[in-house]
Amino acid sequence: MGINKNNSESLEKYHKIFIEQTPTAIAMLDNNMVYLAISQRWLKDYKLEEQEVIGRSHYDVFPEIGDDWKEHHKKCLQGAVDTCDEAPFQRADGSLQWIYWDVRPWYTTNGEVGGLLMHTGDITHQKEKDLEKKRIEEILEKTNEIARIGTWDLNLITNEVYWSEMVREIHEVSEDFIPTMEASKNFYEETESRDRFVNTVRDSMLKGTPFDLELEIITAKGKSNWVRVVGQPEILEGKCTRLFGIIQDINKIIQSEKALSKAHSELQGIFNSKAIAIITADKNGFINRFNQGAEEILGYSATELVGSKRPDVFLVKEEIAEFRKNLVQSFNKDPSLIDPVEYLKSHDLNNTREWTYRRKNGDTFPVLTTLSSLKNDKGENEGFIAVATDISKLKKVENELLKKNQLLNFAEELSMIGHWQWNTVLDKVEWSQNLYTLVELDEEFVDLKFDTYFSFVHPEDKEIVTHYFDKAVKNKEFYSFTHRIVTTSGKTKTIQLLGEVITNKKGEVIEMIGTGQDVTEIKMAERKFRGLLESAPDAMVIVNEKGKIQLINKQSEKLFGYTPEELFEKSVEVLIPEKLYPSHTSHRKNFSHTPKAREMGSGKELYGVNKIGKKIPIQISLSPLHTEEGLLVSAAIRDITKQKLAESKLIEAKENLEHIAQKLSKQNKQLADFTHITSHNLRAPVANLNSLMELYNMSESEPERIDLLDKFETVIQHLTLTLNTLIEALKTKITDTSEGLENVDLNDVLKSTNEILSGVILKSGAIVKGDFSNVSTITYNKVYMESIFLNLVGNAIKYKSEARAPEIFITSEVENGKIILKFKDNGLGIDLERHRHKLFGLNKVFHRHHDAKGVGLFLTKTQIEVMGGFISASSKVDVGTTFTINFN
């Protein structure tokens, strides 16, 4: 150590003070790296102010110092100098400190290394600034590159122009292009941009104002490019010395802006479309957009759903489940191991399918929906967008088509019809499904030709088929025909072919289309029908709609005497009597108009005519037969000659019976009349006789007895009169009416009547007139006729009105071939309401006339009836009476 200890001690002390107070960070350490002295700055730099550092090892104070630095320190202790401009110092507390240092040894007076002197500086702050600047520059550079911004500089003193690389790129010039003021100007599009550029630059230079323009340039390669030019003038002593700035390629921006704006408006258009529903959901599944189209289609308003509802309000649960299942399957994942919702967060979704949406009102309808994921700028799924169109109409049409197709298939199957299409030019044939079924050919067999079908034709029918198809080609018209085929399984079927020939404009056959129907059963049915026809007990005639005979059975042959050949296609009228033709023709037309089974000519007598012209009474039932040839009418005809005969016999018998019954009832009536007569007219006097007898026995005096005997006489006289009348009536009844018939002249009878009644006629002043101009003579019993006249004329006078002289008018006439005699008077009249039933009874009187005995009309009636006639009366009280006699 020091020779002069005090001196050296004080020196050391000075050193320490010097070090302590040095404004930079300095530390003095001994050979063991123990601090001898440190500057305040050091303590501050390393945040050691709170610690006692002197006397401690440097490595204790900075435990973070690594071995590399320790190695440097060792070298320095051996005499080396270690300097560093900047180095990061990772501090134990985790902070990074940028420092520079100068570490060198200090020497003792005897020239030995006494330790180390460390001089450091904290440049962390500066370093950070540097780094930041560098970062900013880097960013700027990158941004320029990305934003396609280049820098330029125009020195107006030297007229030198500087273009950065990007400027060159924007102008599409080579690297060795030397830009000039003039050249720069000439890049601008000449009509507009150049003038604006030149003027703006001039102004800027004059006024010192910066500028910012969007201009169009034409690049060296001739492309139009939009650029943004920003310039800043530098003014020195009132004079513009420099102009610098940037130029940005905005072509892409403009273009993409344009595209974006277009896309945006398109999107807006789509979004606002009423026909398309656009619905988006956030990643939690909540609806966040619901366009007008969606409102329109689903009936919800956006406000009802957005932010609060998930799409399942209008989806069908089952379809969601199905969709999830399908989705997972499409990822080729085991559905049980994966949650599709989670999976979709990190995977793209783009799925188009049909969904069923449910309207607010509950209706469901089909939609076609494209579902895609929405991504944010980081590529993460933000949610989904669904674009849906209502396809109910489409669906309906599709379904209808499907249904119609099914229906057609079904119809073909039912009717055993198949259809075919034959391109005759290319010999390409298409069959419907059912045609395959008919020939029992597998549907896989698609290479169909005409010969395919022809190969199925029954060997014996090949000629027919060829004939008909040749004819179709020749006449350009397809004639329906039937033939047999043999199916792949060997079954024989009868097929009826119908078709249509299609020609081109030149009239050449290019196609035939048609149907083939399995009519095997129909043919069988026809045979069965034929058998049935023959076994029918009636004659059967089958007639077509035009009234031509198509078929007759054996019974018809027998009935009409024609052979089937003679009648085929003959009008059915040949079997009908000539005079019935016209009405039959119209009836026949009526029947084909409303065909239903019925009796023909009900209520009328029908006749048929056989071959030899004989009329046959017949009975006909008609029934319609709907066949492939159209409406046929089957007539079942029954010969009713025998019935007719029996019928007329029956009618005859009935008439006889009626006659007998009439006679009997007449006799009954007469019998009843007789009972009445005996009851009243005979029993009454007998009863009187009995009563008188009783009184006679009781009588006590002679005058009484004489009086009674007087009465007896009256009764006996009455009884005698009655009995005489009866005998006369009975005599009339048992008289042979054919006896005593003669031609009675009515005028003669009236004359003799007048003579007989002349007394009363004279007395009453009666006028009796007769008009027998219609009928003057009747073949009759003359006595009866005289009696009839006498009784009726006599009655008319007897019952005359007191108010007027009697007028009696007698006329004869013929009614319905019968002679009628009328006696009309103007007498008292009879109340027929009361007395009709006993008008002609015996002893019936209707007037309190002293001479009324009730005998005349009784006898008159008896006489008329016995001759087969009858008498009736019409009368009005106090006007007169008319008696009408109908002679038989």
Partner: protein, 137 residues
């Protein structure tokens, strides 16, 4: 009320009327006999005396077979005015007819008490009249 039994005979037969009156008189019961020769005369009497009921007969012997208005026709008219008559009138239909048609027809008219076949006979007539008098007591 009079204690005389008002008895009415309606018949066109003079002899019958004579025997009836004679027989009734022989019974010697308190009675008052009136006679009509047909139904119309009888019904006219009743119509004329609608407000004088005491004049109405207590019993009517009615014949069937009469001119102008017979017994059945009388009954038709009588039934028409019957609701207006307070007095109970016994009617016997008396006829020589043994025709079942007549008997049946009479039996079907409830206003007719009985059908009597002529001649009535003293014994039967007496019995009827006595019964009627008894009922009135």
């Amino acid at each position: 009320m009079s204690n005389l039994l008002k008895t009415c005979i309606v018949d066109d037969d003079l002899i019958y009327r004579f025997t009836m009156v004679k027989t009734l008189e022989s019974i010697k019961l308190p009675m008052d006999i009136m006679v009509f020769s047909d139904g119309e005369k009888a019904i006219n009497f009743m119509l004329d005396n609608l407000d004088n009921e005491p004049e109405y007969p207590d019993v009517i012997f009615l014949d069937i077979d009469m001119p102008v208005m017979d017994g059945f026709q009388f009954m038709e008219e009588f039934i028409k005015i019957k609701p207006r008559i307070g007095k109970s009138i016994t009617i016997y239909m008396v006829s020589s007819s043994i025709d079942p048609v007549d008997i049946e027809r009479a039996n079907n008219i409830s206003a007719i008490s009985d059908y009597i076949i002529k001649p009535i006979g003293l014994v039967r007539l007496k019995e009827i009249m006595e019964n009627l008098l008894d009922e009135r007591k």
